[in-house]
Every structure is written in structure tokens, then in C-alpha cells.
Symmetry: C3
Subunit: 202 residues, 3 copies
């Protein structure tokens, strides 16, 4: 894993753990249950990517990821007791986690030379599966199915990143641009409630 991908992943772990604790805080979990949800949110997507790509699971070889998830989760937990937070504040770290994990997941897959469509799919899995796992464990309908643009944004960002790198753009710059794009479009989609049209077969 390149150094940039390493730090992007650590940041993604931290914000996803925070989002997990903020959502779990609405339920009456005990402290350990809350930590489990922080771990699931922070490690779930990247773990599934690594299993599917047959890589060493990223946090098994390096326990710093576990420590970052634990630290971010506990810090969020105590901060949330001091400050009154709006109910949906977890959507912001969640969007940051979506952007960072999608970029990191795409980069890891590209480094393993899988086909481009598979690489974009790995970006989406890394970006969304931690949140899906968190929502399932919290018994909430996964954000990915709630109607505003979510996985679609991750997928387009991942495809643009792959296109840029295949076209010879500087990987670091492309990654930052793709990450900012995903984060911004996701927040815009939440703010103005933008989604794909819904369909129903007869």
C-alpha cells in the first residue's frame, strides 16, 4: 500500500468509527456494543475488499488501524456527551468515510492490476460496506438504499479516478480530486434530497 493510501485509509477509519458511534448513540447499546459498531463501520468495507482480492486484511498486519478506530470511537463518544449534536450529524463523517474509502479501495485494486470494472466495484464495496454493516447492526435501513445518491456517487468517483489514472494524470492529484468530488456531491445530494428516479416493475 502506498504511503498516501495508508494515510487516506487511517483517516477513513477514524471518520467511519466516529460516524458509527454517532449512529449507535441513538440506540441503547452498551459501551462495548458501541465499540463493536465503530469497528464494523471502520473496518468492514476494507476487510471485504481484501478478502475478495485475496490480500492480507489491512488491519490484521497492522494493529494501528484498530487503535485509531478505538481512539476515534471513544473520543466521539465522550465529545457527544459534552455537546448537543443534531440527530443527523453522523451523515458528515459518513460522507467523508465514503469518499476516503472509495478512493483508497480503488487505489488498492488498481495496484493489484484487476480489470477496471472490478477495480471500480472494489472502490464501491470499500466505500459503502462499512456503513451497510453499521446500519444493519443498528437495525436501520442502510443509507445505500434510502434514496439519495450514495453508492452511485462512489461509483462515478471511482470510475473518474480510474479514467484519470489510465489517461496519465498524477495519481495523488487524481485521488484528492476524486475524494473531494465524492464528498461534495454526496453532501449536495443530502442537502437537496437528490436521488435516482425510482422504479417499480408492474
Amino acid at each position: 500500500m502506498s504511503s498516501a493510501t495508508y494515510w487516506i485509509t487511517q483517516l477513513a477509519v477514524a471518520v467511519s468509527a466516529a460516524a458509527g458511534v454517532l449512529e449507535a448513540g441513538k440506540k441503547r447499546f452498551d459501551l462495548f456494543g458501541m465499540i463493536l459498531i465503530a469497528f464494523a463501520a471502520a473496518l468492514g468495507g476494507g476487510s471485504l475488499r481484501d478478502l475478495l482480492l485475496d490480500r492480507t486484511v489491512f488491519w490484521v498486519a497492522d494493529q494501528n488501524y484498530l487503535l485509531v478506530a478505538l481512539g476515534a470511537g471513544l473520543a466521539t463518544f465522550f465529545a457527544a456527551r459534552w455537546v448537543r449534536l443534531p440527530a443527523n450529524v453522523f451523515l458528515i463523517p459518513d460522507a467523508a468515510g465514503l469518499a476516503l474509502f472509495t478512493v483508497a479501495g480503488t487505489n488498492v485494486a488498481l495496484a493489484m492490476h484487476v480489470p477496471w470494472l472490478v477495480a471500480s466495484f472494489m472502490g464501491v464495496i470499500t466505500g459503502v460496506m462499512g456503513g451497510v454493516l453499521r446500519d444493519v447492526l443498528c437495525n436501520e435501513e442502510p443509507l445505500v438504499f434510502r434514496g439519495t445518491l450514495y453508492a452511485t456517487v462512489a461509483w462515478l468517483g471511482s470510475l473518474l479516478l480510474i479514467l484519470a489514472i489510465y489517461s496519465g494524470a498524477v495519481p495523488g492529484v487524481s485521488a484528492i480530486a476524486a475524494g473531494i468530488l465524492i464528498f461534495a456531491v454526496r453532501l449536495i445530494a443530502i442537502r437537496w434530497d437528490i436521488g435516482l428516479p425510482k422504479f417499480r416493475s408492474r
Copy 2:
């Protein structure tokens, strides 16, 4: 993977993606959610088999599987808007996917020389887990628990296939016979509502 197993798997991916879209069509998913469910239904069982057997996950090395799932899913989606379909029509591609994936999963496991009971279990996992994932994501009770013969049929078909191959029967003929048997018995079980007896401990 032998050539026959390759084409059986592509066909299984197509019919399972179609079954996923037909079931998801009853819910108000958006287009991307529907595609996710088609992918989960078409790729879930084989992915779990490959992870458990420590093989390269079948669609990671060859993105044609993703394209087939995408194409079959979209075609089903548009077809379902033109023709009025009965609510349970997805049971037919689902039964075809069960039969094809069970045969393919058993063949893949046998080629890796795992013990016969493990091979039959891999057939069942490959056959049923895509549908279980689809039903869980659609928030429906999994077919496998709904009472008519389902996993039982896959298991018996897989065991018969293993027995035939161990007895020296031609593998291709055995595979076709086992697939037709699973498909036919599954449809018969649906038509006449045949299930195992249910039990309750006191």
C-alpha cells in the same frame, strides 16, 4: 475452471441477476439499488464458495461476469416494464439459478479435491447464498426458510452428482442430469407445496 463449468456459471449469473431484479422490482429501490441486488444475487454464492475454498473469486479475475450480471439485470428491468408479470415469476429464474449454481459449485469443489461432504456443502452454499443475500437485502424472509424444499433439493442433487462422478459416470452428462433434476424437483415442490415436516422442540 473447465469450459462447461464456465458457461454454466455465466448462465447461472444471468438468471440469478434476473431473479434479483424481479424480486427487487416489488420494492421501491432506485436503479442503482436494483443493480446492487442483481449483483448480490448473481455473485454472492460463488464468492462465498471461493473465499471458503481459498480460490481467486470468480468475477475478480474476469469482469465478463459483472457485464453479464449487469446486462441481464438491465434487460430484465426493461422487459418487466413492457410485460405484466405475475408476482412470483422470479421463482422460475431463481430455481434455474439454484440448479446451475449448485452444479457449478459442486464441480469447482470436486476439482479442488476437498472431502465429499465438504464438496456437497459447497454446492449448497453456491446454490443458495446468492438468493439468501438477495432476500435479506430486499427484507424478505429467505426462500430457504420458507418451507418448500429448497436447500434440501440442492443438497440431494449435489450428493447424487458426487456419487455419479465417483462411480465413473461421464462428468458432463452427470452435471446436466443433476441440474435438470434440481430444477424439476424445485418447481414440483413449489407447484404442490412440498416441504420437509416442520418440528418444534417443547
Copy 3:
């Protein structure tokens, strides 16, 4: 896998399969659904551990685990029809499975020389995930979230076991002590309804 870990795992498989059947017996599953739940309860945690550690999945190489799960599941099923059992009797084999699988999972991870925090986490995953899978398939709220000490006990037991082995204690004695400790504390927590304090963010 050392000989002691092998037998601990077989015993854990048997008691977890029994707990799975006892819980599934409250629902109206058919015989095959019940066997599936016994397998999920008995094999789920160890399978996830092996996938994450990139080991051969323990029951793929050795089908005796499947036979033990099947035998214990069927024996429990028929025994439960002869004797009237209290509703929560499954909590006792569940606690035994938690203790045995946590110890076995920690030992396996230590033998692979992963960092200590990762090893303790593997102990917890091996100990609790079979039960989580069982509860999710039975559509019950997972025990791990139900409030009395559960994963916390497994984690502390696993950390103590690691500490003992790092300090040079005899591995076999340490494993037995940690297993008895987890089993006893879990039963005490059930009996007197002991849990971590619950929290709610504002």
C-alpha cells in the same frame, strides 16, 4: 493447529451446534433449516477468523467438523423432543461455545504471530460470530447486544490468556483457566443480569 486446540474446537463445534438447534427449535423451521442454523452457529465464527487470517478454513480440510456439527445438532434435536426443556436452556451451551471458541481462536491467532490486539480481536470474533449469525438467521436480537456481559467477557478472557502466554505461563493451563473463567463469568452475568452501563448520546 495443536492437538489441544483441535479438541477444544471439536467440543466448541458440538456445543454451539446444540445451542443453535435449541434456539431454532423455538421457531417453526424444518429439519434442514435447523441443520443449517446448527452449521452456521458451529462454523461461522471460526470461518470468519480463518478468512481474515488467510488460513485454510478449518472445516474445509477436515470434514469431521461437519460430522460433529451434524451429529450434535441431530442428537440435540431428538433429545429436545423427549425432555421438556426450559426456554433459555440454550444459554448454557452458548456460554460453553463462547468460552471454547474464544480460547481456540486466540490460540490460532497467536500461532500465526499477529499483533496481540489483533489476536484478542480474533478470539472475540471466533467466540461470538457463530452466535450472532445464529441469532440473525433466527431473526432474534443478537445476544451480543442484549445487555448482559458477553463479548466483553470474551475479550477480557482472551487478553488474559495472551498476557499469561506472553509471561511464560504453560499454554495448556492458561487456556483451560481462561476458558473456565469466560464460562463462569458469563453464567454469573446471566444469573445476576450484569452488564456494562448503557449510554445514549444527547
